[in-house]
Symmetry: C2
Subunit: 511 residues, 2 copies
């Protein structure tokens, strides 16, 4: 890689607040489970029957060819692939149970999978952005930068962004390059990419490989180096029911060849893309995921791959989507059990809502999506910060609200050790009936760190709050995200790598 | 009882919506537990040591006399009682593990305790009321009526009210009579009373006894009849640390004599009333509860009694209370385990917040108090609808918001059966890749009932929402509670019993 002139050196990250050391969330409680062994087996056998008898449409000739060679029954005219049971079971068992997702900053590497390990990632996909200052609008690259800055300063978001919003102000053909560049340089957390088709996926993989390389490497050497080192995970959606389109299949094949992780995720609104029954939806989702995993493992046996879950009930009386529902919670628990059955890490979704503002509905639907995901031990929880409006809009206030929810849930996973020392019995006895502990040495030593303090919640008296103009949580969130962005400092990147990334972008844009 | 002239006959309950049959919540999942056996034993032995060595102040001569006769060491001058370990362990084991709380309408009887059984009750105690129409103000008897109506029409609130707000427009000495009357006649759900001192508690017990009697009974006969029939549960607070005041002890003794249930609840803000450590707070709470249970069982061996839990961290940097925190969640789990260790039903608290409006903070703090309570299998969850402003204010909008949270959580407790029939495999196969299930016979038959529908959440498009003036959840909640109150119809009560209640009130007011 060429040594460039540009010397854009970043300082250390500083959100303007006391930083905690980087730490991945671990849920020490046993997972909540809603399926018994028999139900798990039934979902497995039924979905394998579905793969065998009905199969999937796979809209890519290369994918079909790979599957045919492995023994699948392929109807080329119909682009239909039927998967023999034994093929699926054998091949799926080759997928690794866990892997390390490497970050540019090795202190921020993530363990994907393994009992109780959880990572949180922000919103991905919306065409719109909103905040309480400028209102709702088409997203721009500047908004993508702001979201990356918010990720960088939010400790609890351990996963970086992956093309979080569509920058409408950039040419459609090359916007993915600018998005990947921002995702790589604006934070040093582990990354996600864009898996839409061969060219975009290849660009995404290459830029992350460069970002993880060193200045003496050619692009090819950087790509070779990540064969043994997972540096990005990318969503590959099924087009439910029972179909993968060509762009997604090419993305999946490209990722597998580079030994990077596809997160194979059907998106099922039960009642439309599946029967109006959650067990049905979870079973069908399972069949679709198994088809994707099978293909990835045939392309590159043992490559990292992630089971993706995203099932929500459709409200059939209004025709609208609905999130944060009891049925959605059940699907999280059940899906987590299926992924554990196959011994593959699961990716699911966190803070979902159909609300249009960071109000009470946004809070309860999001927390009621998030908590089941954490209680289910889902290892990768994305869409966990900023998702508003059924996923159409990324909101800065909602981002801050969701980070608050993530911090609460992370706090729940910290167990308080109970030993005889923890009771401070001497103090209780010395103070006796009717006294208080406000001035004890123990209180003075521990009050700063003993309990979680919310940066968003008000603890004011009613009178003080009324005096302050009755600010709602959404209004406080506006102050909060601006403050966080102001405190952001760009993390260090080797200027040669930065130059190499920019050079790659420039070359691809010319082509 | 005298037959009166008044014939105020109520119709059947009708909230203006499809009513579901009355059903108590049952959580089929195993409880979340944060303490191992050793920790439970350590909390037990340490709190018994505290009872033995330090003891409690018990500000009532009768209570001290009962305890002295049972072998406790009493220092009359200091009003201090030290409890021998063996006394506590023997006597606490006499408390029943579960009991039936009878409702005026026997279809609405509740099982208190027993694996997974949960009841939800509304707010209790605030001096203020607020709604978005009239703003914040001192509560009146009319507000208490409105809250009772909201309880009656909210299926998920299975427990009735107990003097929910202080009616500032009535004479202080007799307001409890009007409150009890409202609680008894405005809903036919099982009741809670007021346990503040001998006279008020006796009035509360007597009025509930009359309400459960029949027209041929004298008041004394009605009271005798409830010796074998629990008809109310009442909060008895400790005055933490390590003190019960006289009013509360007289309330407890009166309830025990009538074999009604005290919910013995310390209210500990950790850092002030206990050390700044949740294990300490939970241990101290345990000692205080054991003292109360011991007294109740000495007054009336085998009488129903409830372990009360209410521990929250004090934010020592601001001096403010805080609810819906990770520490609070831990305390819920730990307290539930201690109550199960003693085999006594637990009462804890549901939807708490320091927010002043039904906004995002109110939603996330409340749901983050409620979910741990349900996941912990806490049998009685009160303060679960309408609690705002750190408990100083009852809010009509918050009531509706909380009922929404309760419905979500109740929905989580309904497991979806997984059998081969549930997969609707024929439809999935017939529709095949790329189709949809919107018009299938299965969808048409099931779409109305398959999934939970929220009465509060918006599923509108952004455009429709903007067109409608961007209503927040709080604004929709205002419409919702008014609609619910409008749909309320008073449940049936035998007019003779109604007369008897009114006659009792009139007599007590004259005295």
């Amino acid at each position: 890689m060429r040594r460039g002139r540009s010397r854009r050196r970043g300082g250390k990250a500083n959100s303007g607040e006391a930083k905690r050391p980087f730490r991945q969330l671990h849920n020490p409680l046993p997972p909540i489970e809603v399926l018994d062994e028999e139900a798990i087996q039934l979902i497995h056998t039924t979905s394998v029957t579905l793969l065998e008898e009905t199969g999937l449409e796979m809209w890519d000739a290369e994918a079909r060819s790979i599957l045919r060679q492995a023994g699948a029954e392929v109807d080329e005219a119909a682009e239909r692939v039927r998967f023999p049971r034994e093929l699926v079971e054998t091949v799926v068992s080759q997928a690794p149970a866990q892997f390390t997702l490497h970050a540019r900053n090795p202190d921020k590497n993530l363990q994907i999978g393994g009992p109780g390990n959880i990572v949180f990632g922000a919103v991905g996909g919306p065409p719109f952005v909103t905040d309480r200052i400028r209102g709702r609008r088409e997203a721009t690259i500047d908004d993508l930068h702001t979201l990356n800055k918010l990720i960088h300063v939010s400790d609890v978001l351990t996963l970086g962004g992956g093309h979080m919003v569509e920058p409408s102000d950039l040419p459609r053909e090359t916007a993915h390059l600018d998005a990947a560049y921002a995702d790589i340089v604006l934070t040093d957390k582990a990354g996600r990419g864009n898996g839409l088709g061969r060219r975009v996926t290849k660009d995404s993989v290459t830029m992350w490989a460069i970002g993880h390389g060193n200045s003496s490497m050619t692009t090819e050497q950087a790509l070779a180096a990540i064969q043994e080192k997972v540096v990005l995970m990318t969503v590959i959606n099924a087009n439910s029911p029972l179909r993968f389109d060509g762009e997604m299949l090419q993305g999946l094949i490209t990722l597998a060849r580079h030994r990077q992780a596809s997160m194979i995720t059907p998106f099922i609104l039960a009642g439309a893309m599946s029967p109006v029954s959650m067990p049905s939806a979870v079973m069908q989702q399972n069949a679709e995921v198994l088809a994707g995993i099978t293909l990835a493992q045939l392309v590159s046996p043992g490559c990292p791959v992630v089971y993706g879950g995203f099932v929500s009930p459709l409200d059939l009386q209004s025709g609208a989507t609905s999130f944060g529902t009891p049925e959605g919670a059940w699907a999280q628990y059940a899906t987590a059990q299926m992924a554990r059955f196959y011994n593959v890490p699961l990716r699911s979704v966190g803070c979902l809502t159909t609300a249009h503002a960071a109000d009470a509905q946004a809070a309860y639907e999001s927390l009621y999506s998030l908590m089941p995901a954490v209680l289910a031990h889902i290892p990768i929880i994305t869409q966990a910060a900023g998702w508003l409006d059924g996923g159409l809009t990324a909101s800065m206030e909602k981002f801050v609200l969701d980070v608050q929810l993530l911090e609460l849930v992370a706090g729940m996973c910290q167990l308080r050790p109970v030993t005889s020392d923890t009771f401070i019995l001497d103090d209780i006895q010395a103070i006796g009936p009717g006294g208080h502990h406000l001035g004890t040495a123990h209180t003075i030593e521990n009050f700063r760190t003993a309990f979680y303090r919310s940066p968003l919640s008000t603890r004011m008296s009613y009178e003080a709050w009324a005096e302050a103009g009755q600010p709602t949580t959404a209004e406080r969130a506006t102050e909060r995200w601006q403050e966080l962005v102001k405190g952001y400092k760009r993390p260090f990147i080797d200027p040669d790598l930065d130059d190499a990334l920019q050079a790659y972008m420039a070359r691809q844009k010319q082509e």
